[in-house]
Subunit: 193 residues, 2 copies
Amino acid sequence: MYKFLFQKIKETIAINDDEFEFVKTLFIPKKLKRRRYLLSEGDICKYTIFVEKGLLRSFTTDEKGTEHTLQFSMEGWWAADLYSFFTEEPTQFHIEALEESEVLLLSKPSWDLLLEKVPSFERYFRILIQNNLIATQRRLIGSFSETAEEKYNNLLLQCPSIVQRVPQHMIASYIGISRETLSRIRSNSLSNL
Amino acid sequence: MYKFLFQKIKETIAINDDEFEFVKTLFIPKKLKRRRYLLSEGDICKYTIFVEKGLLRSFTTDEKGTEHTLQFSMEGWWAADLYSFFTEEPTQFHIEALEESEVLLLSKPSWDLLLEKVPSFERYFRILIQNNLIATQRRLIGSFSETAEEKYNNLLLQCPSIVQRVPQHMIASYIGISRETLSRIRSNSLSNL
DNA sequence: TTAAATGTGTGACATATGTCACGTTTTTTT
DNA sequence: AAAAAAACGTGACATATGTCACACATTTAA
C-alpha cells in the first residue's frame, strides 16, 4: 500500500527506514470505487492525496455546466486543491476516481507535523510543486499557440497512458477542446495512415 | 536596492539580520535599460531574477513568430525559466525589461548555498512556487472557459497595475487573444459606460 | 525637429472550433 | 439477459476570434 509513496520519495530526497515508518503513520489509507468523489465543489480540501493505485481526475464545472479537467493523477502522483488546502476556503474543484483506486490521505495537521519532524520534505514538496508548475506553464502556452490537433498529438506523445485509460470527452476537457472536435481529429488521423 | 527582497522574504519566513546580510552577498545587483534582455531563447537560464524596481516580461515566440507572454514580473516578484535553471537545458523563453529596472540575480551555485546555509529558504521558495502554480492553474482553466472579454475584465480586476504599465499587444499575448480583438473589446466597453 | 520605430484602431473577410441534434455503440448495472 | 447509462460519431450550422491590410497616433531616437 505504501510502495509507490516510498519509491517516489526516495527519487528526490534521502530518508531512512525509521523516518519512513513515521511518515507511514501520518497517512490515512483509503480504497475508492469507481466514480466516487474525494472532493466536491464547495468542500474544504482537507487532504492532499497520494495515489497508490488507480486514477483520479481533478476538474471544475463552469456556469454553462461544461467540465474542465485540471489534472489526471495516476499511480505515484498527487492530487489536491492546494489553494483550498492551505487557506481552508471552499474549493471550486471536484476530485473523482476514474478507476477503482487506493489512495493515501495527508491532512493539514499531518502535513505540518511531517515538515516539522522531517524537514527534508520541504524540499520534496518544493520540487514536486515546481515540476507541476513547469508542466502547467507549458500547457498554458500550448493552449495559446497550438491547434486542437497539435494539442491532442502532443498529449499522445507525452502521456499515452492517460489517453488509453480515460474516456475521450475527458481528454477533450483536459486539452480544452470540445468532445466533437476531438472525435473528428481522431477519425481524420486514422484516415491518414 | 534590497528593500523589496527583505520585505518579501519576511512576509513568509523569519530570518534575522545576520542571515539577511549573508543573503545579500549571494545576489548580484544589476541595472537594466528598457528593452534589454536578461534571457534569450537558446540561452541557459543562469539566474533566478528578483525585481527590485521596474518590470520584466517572460515570453516565448512560436513558429509563426507570435509572442506568448508567460508572466510579467514587477517589484517584489521573481522571474526565471525554472526548467532551464535547474536542468541547464537551453530555454525557450525570453526575459526582457519593459521599463528601466533594477534586479538581483541569484545563480545556481548561490541558490544551492542559500538553501544549505539558511534552510528555511526551502520553505520560502516552496510557498512562492506554490502560489505561482495556483495562479497558473487558474489562468489555464480560464483560458478554457472564459471568452476574450472575460479574460480581459478579470485581468483588469486582478492586476490593474499591469494593464496600466504594459502595451496592449502584450496584454493580449498574456491572456491569449489577438491584439485586434483586445482593441475591439476595449472600445466596446467604453461605449457601454 | 524630423525621421523612424512602436503602438493602436478598424474594416473586410476567413476559418477553426463550438453548438445542437440525433443515432449508434459500448459499458455498466440490475 | 434486459434495461439504463455512458460514451462516441457525425452532419448541419453558428460564431467568436483570428488574419490581413492600412491609416493614424504616439513615443523614441537621431
